[in-house]
């Protein structure tokens, strides 16, 4: 008989995306035992790591909705949060561009909607001003949103998790929840959650499983929820295209599309991304790119930015929106965040699609409030809200570079040539507080392998560091944890 180990916790969070990690971080302010499980091998493996990397202002969402309220609230606190957590953030503003009269009407509608939602910093620009502000961009008029920002969504999630972890939260990766049972009569152990590795007894279970949240809810018999995975594909452009665009540029939204339209967004790392498309698919984990959409994205983007060329593309990715709105209907349904009345302590978060990243912290506070209704939350006196990230060598001035190398010669070894990432930074990424060691984990922590050579220079070097400096066998070096092994072993 296989003996499954048992772990008792106050709160079990299912899913280590931005929302799950934000909930964990907020709960770490209190004297609670909190565990986060995720079936993947790092945080942000799903939608949190696969989006437009924009902090939204909240003008796109229906007035009175949770989406609108939490997005506006999230936007207001985002900069401070990024400072606390040492996450790259830049308030770029954003332009929503109209190409015809219908678009101009739409701009008026979303402008008013934005004001209704409490967005500040919205303005309508005429064609002349648009031309002057964004000479490379097409369009006849635009709405500017000053409060929109760009950030690094992966590092944001990493930072939330690292901060939570330093404040006592336990993260368990590579564990897939298989079964949840309600235990009657035990106030402290209301749920028994079984993963493929062990069983957890928890007083609260928070379902932050994103695209998988419906499946988790079904384990306790909640069959009323439906999600329709809607894939969005993106293209990544070479940094060389950075000069074309410093501000996210979106087309005016069209009716019935389950997204915000194909837009151009500069990332915090200097690459422009194009996307996303919107396509309802069956498999909520099919992160494919398709020829049809690659071509279409490029054509659409060229309308917004006529100077764009095909050779500027250096990569592609896709993410999945967990939409509650069925394909026949399109558009948005509001976030569903609630403790199930017939299952006390079981908190469902369903349909957290865009603007879920922006709203993640207000969502987390909502979850804390729900928990605070039924128990006293005592402050964790040693809680520290500050998290320090990995120092970026390439951002330092010459004297500082010299000083760093003198302290640690590994700063003198550039491992990733496109993004100028040094061995010292790679090693810090490998030694991350969450203990994850895949190539993708390193990539998203220090941005190595993401440049125009796609890791041609640094991939083999990183593999060598993992092998020589950290004793990891070649056959255990993975892209994203188990099942994604790169190598079969030694040649001889």
């Amino acid at each position: 008989m296989i003996h499954m180990s048992l772990m008792i916790t106050d709160v079990l969070i299912i899913g280590a995306g931005a929302v799950g990690c934000a909930v964990a971080r907020e709960l770490s302010r209190y004297k609670l035992k909190v565990v986060v499980v995720d079936k993947e091998y790092d945080v942000a493996a799903g939608t949190s790591g696969r989006n437009s990397a924009v902090v939204h202002a909240g003008f796109n969402n229906k007035p009175g909705s949770l989406m609108a309220r939490l997005c506006v609230e999230g936007n207001a606190g985002f900069e401070t949060l990024c400072k606390e957590l040492d996450v790259p953030y830049k308030k770029t503003g954003k332009f929503v561009v109209a190409f015809d009269e219908e678009d101009q009407k739409t701009l008026q509608i979303i402008y008013k909607q934005g004001l209704n939602n409490g967005c500040k910093g919205l303005r309508i620009l005429d064609g002349e001003e648009l031309k002057r502000r964004l000479p490379d961009v097409g369009g006849i008029s635009a709405m500017e949103s000053i409060d929109t920002a760009i950030f690094d969504p992966f590092l944001y999630t990493v930072a939330l998790a690292e901060n939570a972890s330093c404040n006592g939260v336990l993260f368990r990766f590579g564990e897939e929840v298989k079964n949840i049972e309600k235990i009657e009569g035990k106030e402290r152990e209301r749920y028994s959650v079984t993963t493929d590795k062990r069983t957890y007894k928890a007083r609260y279970v928070v379902n932050c499983a994103g695209v998988g949240s419906v499946r988790v809810a079904q384990m306790l018999g909640f069959n009323q929820y439906k999600l329709y995975p809607c894939r969005g594909e993106y293209l990544i452009l070479d940094k060389i295209a950075e000069k074309f665009l410093q501000v996210p540029v979106y087309p005016a939204p069209k009716k019935g599309i389950g997204g915000l339209g194909v837009h151009l967004t500069p990332t915090i790392h200097g690459n422009i991304i194009i996307g996303p498309s919107a396509e309802y698919i069956e498999d909520g984990e099919d992160y494919s790119s398709t020829k049809l959409i690659i071509d279409k994205l490029f054509d659409e983007a060229k309308k917004l930015l006529p100077t764009l060329e095909r050779k500027h593309i250096i990569g592609a990715y896709s993410g999945i929106r967990s939409k509650q709105a069925p394909p026949s209907e399109g558009g948005f349904h509001d976030f569903l965040i609630q403790e199930e009345p017939e299952c006390k302590g079981f908190i469902n978060l369903i349909g957290i699609e865009s603007p879920g990243m922006t709203a993640s912290m207000p969502i987390a506070r909502m979850v804390c409030n729900i928990i605070g209704h039924s128990i006293d939350l005592n402050p964790n006196l040693s809680f520290n809200p500050i998290r320090k990230g990995i120092l970026k060598f390439s951002d330092q001035n010459d004297e500082e570079k010299d000083r760093l190398i003198k302290i640690n010669p590994e700063y003198g070894e550039v491992v990733c040539r496109c993004q100028n990432v040094t061995k010292a930074e790679i090693c810090q990424a490998i030694e991350n507080p969450l203990g994850v060691k895949s190539i993708a984990s390193i990539k998203y922590r220090v941005w190595a392998t993401t440049g125009r050579c796609n890791g041609g220079y640094c991939f083999a070097r990183i593999a060598e560091i993992l092998e020589k400096d950290y004793g990891i066998n070649p056959e255990d070096i993975t892209l994203r944890g188990k099942g994604s092994e790169y190598f079969i072993g030694r040649v001889k």
Binding site: I313, G315, A316, A463, R480
Partner: protein, 421 residues
């Protein structure tokens, strides 16, 4: 204090080493080469196959042998070489910002030769549709992993692109026990040298699909299969021609791009289409006093020609600081033949001519010299190959070796015996 040199060369591959040696020989006093690797010779070190040096040294050398010769020449000329040092940027007045294990430094040069080589075109750049699993590599990375880092990528391999590195790696992986299921080429003709088509693919019965491409990548976490399709005249996949090949590795050999990140920091003009450094007849870039040679200027087929070009660039860099008249560089094309070997002939690998030799009745035809005839006769009765592989030394590292005159049908036997010892 900022260090000053007469000529600084960036990159210690064949071009850079030749440039530095030549600068010294032409009278530059202080000559320094920077390389970001901790060794000299650049990519040659991982190119353990032979066929280098046929033009320059009139013998078939392996990459490491060629590199060693070039390093020795630089040593003899008293060139200073600093490895493990990466030049981050160059200013217009030729001051370089460099990082290395000792710290950050600035170095000024009278003239600079850029010999920064090239990088490989990637999956992202050619937008292959599908998922993004582990198991997709560029050919040069595989060469580095297999030949230097002692890491084996997989058992069932598909190669996309029939350039020389792809062909060489198809053979190399086969010799190390992988099954290379197909080499896929989007053009109607293979891009590699005839001798490589013949010795890397035909020798091992590796199928070559021309006018085909990989139209989709399949596999969520690890590569499970690729879908290949025939392409039309516009290189677009033809619907209905798809077929699935199950594999664990896809090796991309889809072109090389001049690597000019450092050149850009100096504001040097690049060719919009090729990304190569634009030079005048003297190999001088758009910034006076900064010269370029080798693959960072335009991607070349032969290391030998890179060395020759490096010599001219190094000499002209010296002329520049002395205010002397520079030498015009004459563009040379490789004489090696590319594409399908002519039917019924063998491609002679003994010299750059690469004669297609056949029989007309009893007479051997197509050869330009006697050696070609002998080679052809040998091919008919008992074909021999030069086996290039690695052996594990007592230091635990891989060492390249070359064994000449191995019977073609005994290559596997030989390599297995080597590994046993």
């Amino acid at each position: 204090m900022m260090e000053r040199y007469d000529v600084v060369v960036i990159g210690a591959g064949p071009g850079g080493l030749a440039a530095a040696t030549s600068a010294k020989q032409h009278g530059a006093e202080r000559v320094l080469v920077f390389d970001r690797n901790c060794y000299c010779g650049g990519v040659l070190n991982q190119c353990i196959h032979d066929g280098f040096g046929l033009v320059r040294y009139k013998e078939a050398l392996t990459g490491p042998e060629y590199a060693e010769k070039a390093c020795r020449e630089a040593d003899k000329a008293n060139v200073e070489i600093k490895t493990g040092a990466m030049v981050l940027s160059i200013s217009k007045d030729r001051v370089m910002s460099v990082v290395c294990g000792n710290g950050f430094m600035k170095v000024q040069a009278g003239a600079i030769v850029l010999a920064t080589g090239c990088r490989e075109r990637t999956r992202g750049a050619i937008s292959i549709p599908g998922t993004r699993p582990a198991g997709i590599y560029t050919a040069g990375v595989v060469q580095n992993l297999v030949n230097i880092k002692n890491i084996m990528i997989g058992k069932r391999v598909v190669v996309l692109g029939s350039g020389d590195i792809g062909l060489i790696m198809a053979r190399r992986l086969t010799l190390e026990g992988a099954k290379v299921l197909a080499v896929i080429e989007i053009l109607p003709e293979p891009c590699g040298l005839q001798r490589n088509i013949s010795q890397c693919l035909y020798d091992f019965d590796i199928p070559l699909y021309v006018s085909h491409t990989v139209s989709r990548i399949i596999g969520k976490r690890k590569l499970e299969a690729v879908e290949i399709s025939e392409v039309d005249d516009n290189k677009q996949p033809i619907s209905g021609t798809e077929r699935i090949i199950e594999c664990d590795s896809l090796v991309l050999s889809v072109g090389l791009i001049p690597e000019n990140e450092v050149a850009l920091t100096a504001g040097i003009a690049l060719n919009e289409k090729t990304n190569g450094i634009i030079t005048d007849d003297y190999l001088q870039s758009s910034v006076p006093g900064i010269f370029a040679c080798g693959n960072c200027r335009s991607v070349m087929d032969l290391a030998d020609l890179v060395s020759e070009q490096g010599e001219v660039a190094g000499a002209n860099a010296t002329c520049y600081i002395k205010g002397e008249k520079m030498k015009i560089y004459m563009e040379k094309q490789s004489v090696f033949k590319k594409g399908f070997p002519e039917k019924g002939t063998v491609t002679c690998p003994l010299c750059p001519n690469g004669c297609s030799i056949g029989e007309y009745g009893e007479k051997v035809v197509g050869n330009k010299c006697k050696r070609g005839e002998l080679y052809f006769r040998q091919e008919q009765i008992d074909p021999r190959r030069t086996l290039t592989t690695t052996v594990k030394g007592i230091d635990g590292m891989l060492h390249p070796i070359k064994i000449e005159n191995v019977r073609k049908n005994e290559l596997f036997y030989k390599i297995q015996n080597l590994d046993k010892n």
